[in-house]
Amino acid sequence: MSVLVDDDTRVVVQGITGGEGEFHAGQMIEYGTNVVAGAVPGKGGQEVHGVPVYDTVDQAVREEDADASVIFVPPAFAGDAIFEALDTELDLAVAITEGVPTQDMAKVNKRLTETDTRLLGPNCPGLITPGEAKLGILPGNIFAEGNVGLVSRSGTLTYQVVDNLTNRGIGQSTAIGIGGDPIIGTDFVDALSLFEDDPETEAIVMCGEIGGEDEEEAAAFIADNVETPVAGFIAGRTAPPGKRMGHAGAIVSGSGTGTAESKIDALNDAGVPVGDTPEEVADHVEDLL
C-alpha cells in the first residue's frame, strides 16, 4: 500500500552532521524511518542520534545495507553528493537541497540515463509513506495512512493539499514531492506510473504549477496509461506572463504551453478534474474514491 519506500527501507543520510541534516534525521527517526547510517566525509566513526556515520556513501551502503539516501548537503556540494549516491547500489536518492546550480543538474541528468538508482529532487520535500517511513522534511503529523497517492512539484502546497485531505479523513498511500527545479530526477510521469502500478492506490492527486510542459506531458500520459482516477491542482493561475515567480520552474513562456490555462485544459482533456482551491481538490478526491 505504498510506492518507493516503506518500513523496510534502510536509509543513509548524507550530511547528517550539518544543522538541517541532524535535525531532520532526528525527525525521520522519530517518525519511524529506518535510518541506518549517516555519510559525511571526515566524520566517519562518529554517531548522530545513535546512528553510525561513515566517510563515504559507498561505505555506508556496504556496512549497513542502506538502500535509500536522503541528501542534506549545501548547494555547492550537492551535485557531487548526488553523483556519489547515484554511483552506489542504492535504489533511491532523495535530494532535499535547494539552490543546486542548473548546470550541475544537467550533468546529473546525464548520469541518470546510465544508472538504476532513482533520484527524487533536488529542491524537494522528499516523500512519505504515512505510518511507515518518511525521507525528507515533510511534517509527518499532517499525513494519514490511506489510499490516495499524491505527487506535487511544490513542497508547502503539498502540505496544504494533504491537510485538506487528512482533515476529511482521507489518508495517503505515499506522497511524493518531485521538486520545482528546471531539471529533476523523478517527474510526474514516473510518479503516476508508480501509483498506477500500486494496487493499493485508489486515487491520485497531482499538484502542478505554471512553467515548463511537465503537466501537459503528464496529462497525455494519464490519458493513455493511467486507469486510477486522478484529481489535479495547478498553482499560478493569476501569475502574469513573463514574470518569474519563485523557483525557476515558474516562468510562463507565453507561447501557449506552460500557462495555467494550458495545463488545466490538458488535464481536463485527459479526464482529470482540476480544483480551483485546495478544498475543491479534496472534493474531487471524495468523488473519485
Binding site: Q103, I137, P139, I183, G212, M245, D276, E279
Partner: protein, 382 residues
C-alpha cells in the same frame, strides 16, 4: 541574473568573440568624447534591461557630434518602459550585409544544453521561433562531453550560413558555449551576429543571463550584479533581502513560504474577488528576522491595503514566524495595514502561543485567511 549589454559584451570580448569598439558614458560630454575616439558613425544605446529598446527610442545611430549630442540628450534621463536611463553605450557602427543569431541555453524539457543558430538574426528571435521554427537550427549538447567542434559546424552549415563565414561563426558558437558553460550561463545570445562585406563576423549585441544559484562560484559575475541591479526600488530591496519577490498591481499583500503555496495564495485572493499586490516567498526555514524583513517589504508598497501571511511549516517553524511577526509589528506605534495570519505545519501550536493576537487577525484555514484579507483590502479602499 541578467548582465547589462556593456557587461556581457566585455565578457564576450574577453573570451575572444569579436565585438565593435565601445565605451560606456553617463553624460553628453562622455558620449561626445567616446564617439570621437571610436569614430563616427556610432550607435548610442540605452543600458537598461527592457525588451524592445530600439523601438522605444533607446537606440540611435548618429554620424556627427551634433546628432550625437541630440541623441545623448534625449536618451540619457529618459524613462524607458518605467526604467530611468542613466548610462549609454557608445559603440562603433558596423556595416553589415547579413545578420545572424547564435545562442546557447538550457533546454529544460530535455534537461540538456542546446546551441542555436539562425540566419534570421537582427529581429525578434522569439517571433522567429514561433512563426518559422525551422529557421532556427538546434543542436543539443551532452553536458558531460561539452560541445564537440563538429556540433558547432553542423548547426552552422545546417542553418545555411554562407560557407565563407561558416568557420568563423562556428568558432563564435563554440566560444559562446564554453563561456556559457564556464560562467554558469542560463542564456547566452548574440543577436545580431553581423557579417560584414569582407566576411568578418562581429557581435553587435550581447545577452548573458547567469544562473543565480551558481553565483557563489562566479565571483566576477557576482560583482557585476550590483551594477546590473534592477531599476525598481522595491525589487532592489527584495534583492538585498534575498527574497523571491514580484510586484503586481493589486492591494492585497501576500507573504508565504514556498513558490507553489504563495502562488496558490495569489490564486485564492483572485478567486475571492481581491487583487494580489505581490508575490513574496520567504523560502524554506525562515527565521524571525527574515519574517520581519518580509513585512517591511510588503508595507513599503503604498498600494497595499491588507496583508495575508500564509505559512505551512515543513522546514519553516511556526514559532520563528510568530516571533518575527511580533517583532515587526511591535515596532510600530500603529499597525500600518491589517495583517491576517494563518499558521500550519511544524510547530504551529507553539507559534500560536507566541503570536501577539492584539496585532493581527488569526485564521485557521487558508481559505478563511484569504477571504478575511480581501475584505480588509476592500474596506481600506472604501
Amino acid at each position: 541574473m541578467k548582465l547589462h549589454e556593456y557587461q556581457a559584451k566585455q565578457v564576450f570580448a574577453d573570451a575572444g568573440i569579436p565585438t565593435p569598439p565601445s565605451q560606456l558614458a553617463e553624460d553628453v560630454d562622455g558620449v561626445l568624447s567616446a564617439a570621437g575616439e571610436i569614430g563616427y558613425p556610432v550607435a548610442i544605446k540605452a543600458q537598461v534591461q527592457v525588451g524592445g529598446r530600439g523601438k522605444a527610442g533607446g537606440i540611435e545611430l548618429v554620424s556627427d557630434d551634433e546628432e550625437a549630442r541630440e541623441a545623448a540628450d534625449s536618451i540619457l534621463g529618459m524613462d524607458l518602459k518605467g526604467i530611468h536611463v542613466d548610462r549609454v553605450l557608445v559603440e562603433g557602427a558596423v556595416d553589415f550585409v547579413n545578420e545572424l543569431y547564435v545562442g546557447v541555453t538550457m533546454d529544460r524539457g530535455e534537461g540538456k544544453p542546446v546551441a542555436m543558430v539562425s540566419t534570421k538574426g537582427g529581429v525578434d528571435i522569439e517571433a522567429v521561433a514561433e512563426e518559422t521554427p525551422d529557421a532556427i537550427v538546434r543542436e543539443h549538447v551532452d553536458p558531460a562531453f561539452g560541445m564537440h567542434p563538429y556540433q558547432a559546424r553542423k548547426a552552422v552549415y545546417d542553418a545555411g550560413v554562407d560557407r565563407e563565414v561558416a568557420r568563423d561563426v562556428a568558432s563564435v558558437l563554440t566560444t559562446l558555449y564554453e563561456l556559457w558553460d564556464d560562467r554558469d550561463g542560463a542564456d547566452a545570445e548574440i543577436n545580431p551576429l553581423m557579417v560584414t562585406d569582407d566576411d568578418e563576423v562581429i557581435a553587435a549585441d550581447a545577452v548573458m543571463n547567469v544562473d543565480e544559484d551558481a553565483l557563489f562560484r562566479q565571483p566576477e559575475i557576482a560583482e557585476m550584479q550590483e551594477e546590473a541591479a534592477s531599476g525598481d526600488e522595491l525589487e532592489q530591496k527584495a534583492d538585498e533581502y534575498d527574497f523571491d519577490y514580484v510586484r503586481l498591481e493589486g492591494d492585497v499583500g501576500i507573504i508565504g513560504n514556498g513558490a507553489g503555496l504563495v502562488m496558490t495564495t495569489l490564486d485564492l485572493v483572485d478567486h475571492y474577488g481581491g487583487e494580489p499586490a505581490n508575490f513574496l516567498d520567504v523560502g524554506g526555514g525562515a527565521k524571525a528576522e527574515r519574517i520581519t524583513n518580509a513585512l517591511d517589504m510588503v508595507f513599503s508598497d503604498d498600494n497595499v491595503e491588507s496583508v495575508v501571511f500564509n505559512i505551512f511549516g515543513g522546514i519553516t517553524r511556526g514559532d520563528e514566524v510568530a516571533r518575527g511577526i511580533n517583532e515587526a509589528l511591535e515596532a510600530f506605534d500603529e499597525i500600518p495595514k491589517p495583517v491576517v495570519v494563518r499558521l500550519a505545519g511544524t510547530n504551529w501550536e507553539e507559534g500560536m502561543e507566541i503570536l501577539n493576537e492584539d496585532l493581527v487577525t488569526v485564521e485557521g484555514t487558508l481559505e478563511s485567511a484569504v477571504q478575511r484579507a480581501v475584505e480588509y483590502a476592500e474596506e481600506g479602499q472604501a
